[in-house]
């Protein structure tokens, strides 16, 4: 069977132990400021800070493996498209016969790639150091309704569960002679008979789970008791406000002419 949709890596670093909302604020503000910041220097600075945090959390190797797979094709595509075809291209960086590559495109591509790198880095830093269930639990402790909390929690689990169900149906179909290997069109055709039983099974499972939830008292109008308290501190609370406040401050600075 499939496990949960969790990238969490066990660890005891400061970031692992930090309050999920602190890590959430760090992630969101790092991404936002990376996209607000006007120049490569600033974005690079955010990237360096994130890399330091990733290293401190002990997940650098995992991040590099995932980030390389995501960022390499995106960066190459950006460099090619912007360097060759950006409308503002004026200054030639190099030319190979009729093929001309421009500096303006290179700078735009590098900035965009760095911003995306920050986004990927911040997102995976959060995912590697935070259990999905902790996110919704922390939000519920801050007033998110139990029902919404359940939606968030179950949404994080639904993809592996559906994949698991699809795998079982395909195994059963394969056992009865359906060809699922071979050329691309043949494999594509094999997905058609999968869809109907998958959708029907999912609907039946949803109804059964709804009943099972009622049987366990889900939705009872009682005050929910938190499963556990997250470690928090005045320093973390201040840090959260600083991180959240940094985003409007960056927007204001940008509007005021930050270059």
């Amino acid at each position: 069977m499939a496990g949960g949709l969790s990238l969490y890596a066990e660890g005891k670093s400061l970031l692992h132990r930090a309050h999920p909302l602190t890590k959430g604020a760090l992630t969101l503000s790092a991404i936002a400021i990376a996209f607000i910041a006007p120049s490569i220097g600033w974005v690079l600075g955010i990237g360096v800070i994130l890399l330091v945090l990733v290293t401190a959390a002990g997940v650098l190797r995992r991040l590099l493996a995932v980030a390389a797979a995501i960022l390499l094709p995106i960066t190459l595509l950006l460099l090619a498209v912007q360097g060759f075809a950006n409308a503002n291209n004026r200054t030639v960086a190099f030319a190979l016969g009729p093929i001309v590559y421009y500096r303006e495109g290179l700078a735009i591509a590098a900035l965009a790639a760095l911003r995306i790198a920050c986004l990927v880095c911040a997102t995976f830093l959060f995912s590697f150091t935070t259990r999905p269930a902790d996110i919704s639990e922390a939000l519920m402790q801050r007033g998110l309704s139990t029902r919404m909390g359940y939606v968030v929690q179950s949404a994080l689990q639904i993809i592996p569960q559906t994949l698991d169900m699809a795998g079982r149906i395909q195994d059963a179909q394969r056992a009865r002679g359906l060809e699922t290997e071979g050329s691309l069109p043949r494999r594509a055709r094999a997905y058609l008979p999968l869809m109907l039983p998958l959708v029907l099974s999912s609907l039946v499972a949803t109804q059964e789970r709804a009943m099972a939830l009622e049987v366990r008292g889900f939705g009872l109008p009682v005050k929910r008791v938190a499963r556990f308290e997250f470690a928090d501190s005045p320093l973390q609370r201040v840090l959260r406000w600083v991180l959240i406040g940094a985003v409007p401050a960056a927007i204001a600075a940008r509007l005021a002419g930050w270059r």
Binding site: G3, A133, T146, M211
Partner: protein, 297 residues
């Protein structure tokens, strides 16, 4: 660990310290039809189950066995709609008075498919077990105690840190049962709880149930395996087409011709009949062994 289970299997005496005077579940002339269904799923059902009893319910497909469980839990008609006639009284409360979630504090229902019984929202087995008590606003300390107790009772303590989706079918069904036990139910309804399990998983679940019965919990269990039913349940209800055709100790129920024809009979009973023994035929292995032993001697 849970209570001693060794002596509970096949023991037809009521559990020690449990008075059988009060009722746990009563059906009074109950007829029920699902919404838009042409015929009733159960008709004119009358049944009384005392506190601490372990009752097995059996019958062919469309006999109304699952509907009986859904009615006792209140899912029919609260969840499914439909038309209900008569009274279903669960732990001395009319089913119309309480919603399913209100009743869930005292009554647990275990479905066939263990996969759909877990909340689908928890990443650890122990968190999953605690889901129900948390929904009921039980204090954190109490939840922890109940989780530990329920996991020990069904023998999954060593799986506490595992992801529920990484468990086998048998382990998942035990997890679902632990989730119900953590609610401390007085009445446990089991709708073919082992139909999707292998023999080892099935034996593990039945061992747990024997222990629960010994501790005084009322159990109503729908089961197709007649030999298992006769071994475990002191009382059997046989249903056909939404009606009860026999109700009593398994030896009586499976020695009736109508039950043998319409529901079937345990393999030992068939064997004794085929061997030309005179009735009453044995319904359990140990009885059959004794009967054939005497015959051979």
């Amino acid at each position: 660990m849970g209570p001693d289970r060794g002596g509970a299997r096949g023991d037809r005496r009521p559990p020690r310290g449990v008075a059988l005077s009060s009722t746990s579940l009563v059906f009074e002339n109950v007829s029920y039809a699902y919404e838009e269904a042409a015929r009733e799923a159960v008709s004119d059902l009358s049944l009384s189950i005392a506190v601490g009893e372990w009752v097995g319910v059996t019958g062919p497909t469309n006999a109304g066995k699952s509907t009986l469980c859904l009615l006792a839990m209140g899912l029919a008609p609260h969840f499914f709609g439909g038309r209900l006639k008569g009274r279903v009284v669960v732990l001395e409360k009319d089913s119309r008075e309480l919603s399913v979630i209100q009743r869930s504090a005292e009554v647990g229902l275990l479905f066939q498919n263990p996969f759909t019984q877990i909340s689908g929202a928890r990443e650890r087995v122990d968190d999953e077990v605690g889901f129900g008590p948390e929904c009921h606003g039980v204090s954190r300390l109490e939840v922890a105690a109940r989780v530990e107790e329920a996991m020990a009772l069904v023998g999954i303590s060593q799986l506490a840190a595992r992801h529920p989706m990484d468990l086998s079918g048998g382990q998942l069904q035990r997890l679902a049962l632990a989730g119900l036990l953590a609610m401390r139910p007085k009445l446990l309804l089991l709708d073919e709880p082992t139909s999707q399990l292998d023999p080892a998983g099935t034996a593990a679940i039945f061992d747990v149930l024997a222990g629960l019965h010994a501790s005084g919990i009322t159990i109503v269990m729908v089961e197709h395996r007649l030999e298992t039913l006769c071994e475990l349940c002191p009382r059997v209800v046989a249903m056909v087409a939404g009606r009860i055709i026999a109700d009593g100790p398994p030896d009586d129920v499976f020695n009736r011709e109508a039950v043998q024809l319409r529901v079937g009979s345990p393999v030992f009973t068939r064997l004794a009949r085929e061997a030309g023994l005179s009735p009453p035929w044995p319904v359990r292995l140990r009885d059959a062994t004794a009967v054939f032993g005497r015959r051979l001697a």
